[in-house]
Amino acid sequence: MATYIIRRLIWGVFMLAIVSVITFAIFFLVPRLAGATSESLATRYVGRTASAEQVKVAAEKLGFNDPLVVQYGRFAKGLVAGAEYDYGPGVEHCPAPCFGYSFLTRLPVWPDLLNRLPVTISLSLGAAVIWLIGGVATGVISALRRGSFFDRAAMTIALGGVSLPIFFTGIVSLVVFSYGRPFALAAPGGSFTPFFDNPVMWAYNLTLPWITLAFLYAAGYARLTRSGMLETMNEDYIRTARAKGLAERTVVFKHGLRGALTPILTIFGLDLGLLMGGAVLTESTFSLPGIGKYAIDAITNQDLPKVMGVTLVAAFFVVLANLVVDLLYAVVDPRVRLT
């Protein structure tokens, strides 16, 4: 178990390294292929009014003339050991993990990312709770009442839910429930109150994004749960449980759901991991200042250090989620042996 975790951790770090290499290569290589020069890259750091001379100096100082490998090495070193930057009155130390400074804000990227994280985490965790409860409950009822009106209605809605892109449901829900409607469900987007400042406002501001996001996922989970339940309820061990004389409730929840839930847990972990790395569409639809919105803004502004940071943070969550899911799986399913 311990060696397994260590191995997975090492592989996880390695994977992040690969992700960073690829991201780096793409974001620094493709623009060059597209005709950008060291100078044009440096332009971003010195403003559009800088003289050619200044640009040249900046490019040299930022190392844009070095081979890509050297540049990556510097970047990687910054990640691991921090880096020094010389912009202001003194030399600025950017502690590890240092993704460098944003072109635009001239601030280190990492604290910025940390700052955004609570938003994304609040959004995804809250939505996750709703969709997990809603989706699984619907799925279980549907499976038990297979073919009933409830089942058919729920599954039709679920299929519809899966087919509705979030940016559409998001806008519709904003128009219907927010934008100053009398029956507003939530404050209009863009305002995030940290939980510890004011839990009520926190929840109020997130209600609409939660529901919208949860609807999309709940639909999928309802379908998953339903088919999982239908499958497990056909397992031999369910028959055994019944043969023991267990009450149907116990059979369904203790034996059936337990079996059906394990694969759902896996998918749940991965979905959550992906969302934590930036619910891009949701955040930009509801203009929540989270990682996803940050990513979009960074991309819009071609702010490469930010993009690198976001990509790596998002990848980190996926890798982490994978690991957690695997460990969890071993806990939930005693047949899984981690060696």
């Binding site: 060696t3 260590i6 191995r7 090492i10 060696t339």
Partner: protein, 344 residues
Amino acid sequence: MSESPEALLSVQGLEKHFPITKGLFRRQVGAVKAVDGLTFDVVKGETLGLVGESGCGKTTTGRLITRLLEPTGGKIVFEGRDISHMSQGDLRPLRRDMQMIFQDPYSSLNPRHTVGAIVGAPFRIQGVQTEHGTKKAVQDILELVGLNPEHYNRYPHEFSGGQRQRIGIARTLALKPKLIIADEPVSALDVSIQAQVVNLLEDLQNELDLTYVVIAHDLSVVRHISDRVAVMYLGKIVEIADRKNLYESPMHPYTTALLSAVPVPDVKRRNARERIRLQGDVPSPINPPPACRFHTRCWKAQEICKTVEPPLAELATGHQVACHFPENAPTDAVSGDTGTTVPA
């Protein structure tokens, strides 16, 4: 042991160890000793039965002989040629002479292929041209195994288990092999259907001059079709003899126990039979018991059984046993002290 001149297949000290890896660098920490030193010959025209309990390495043996697996050690000689480590390319022509019948009639036929394609596959794979075309040849074989040649275009799922097994047999017969390894050819079938297939196998042997290695765990079936029988326990042969000797005067305690455990459809003798009941299950091949592997379950076991591995010795003509205290043995043949000592 000398190689009998007319042996079609000769297996010497055959071993297969599946590695078990562990840890950060996938270090090998052990091995499943699925097959651990098998030696036997198969003479042309005979049927050798291979019996043993689940997990004792029967299937592995079959797959080694057909070289679906690469042996870890030992030698497989087929028609005088050592094929133990022959490359798959060099094996290709030889494969015509050696075929395998599989246990599961459901998974051994590709559900997306027609019967014609399945039975015709050997021709296609081996690039064999037939006089009247492949289709005719296939239909002839189908007829041979008792299937309607008009079913050429049907799919496996349209056939019953017994019929499917016939299709599988037809496929192995296509290239007129000399040796057929049959891995539990009937154990997936209903009793009444088993008999059909057993009879078919026997008929084909007579007709086509085939040599069989039949793997099975059902002792009665093995007795019915084999000329000689080898009993395996944990990757080793514990006893090998011709049918009559083995069933009538088994020498190894394990064989005895095995025979007495078979339920017999005879109500009158229900309580009259003397039964030997073994304790526990077959131990794991990862950590097989030292020396005589059977000593953990053997009622005759003594100290020597835990330290000295009994060799497979010929105690009567054509009757080899690996036991320190064999039963039904000619008294002078008992050898309790030969063999290798296992360091403790």
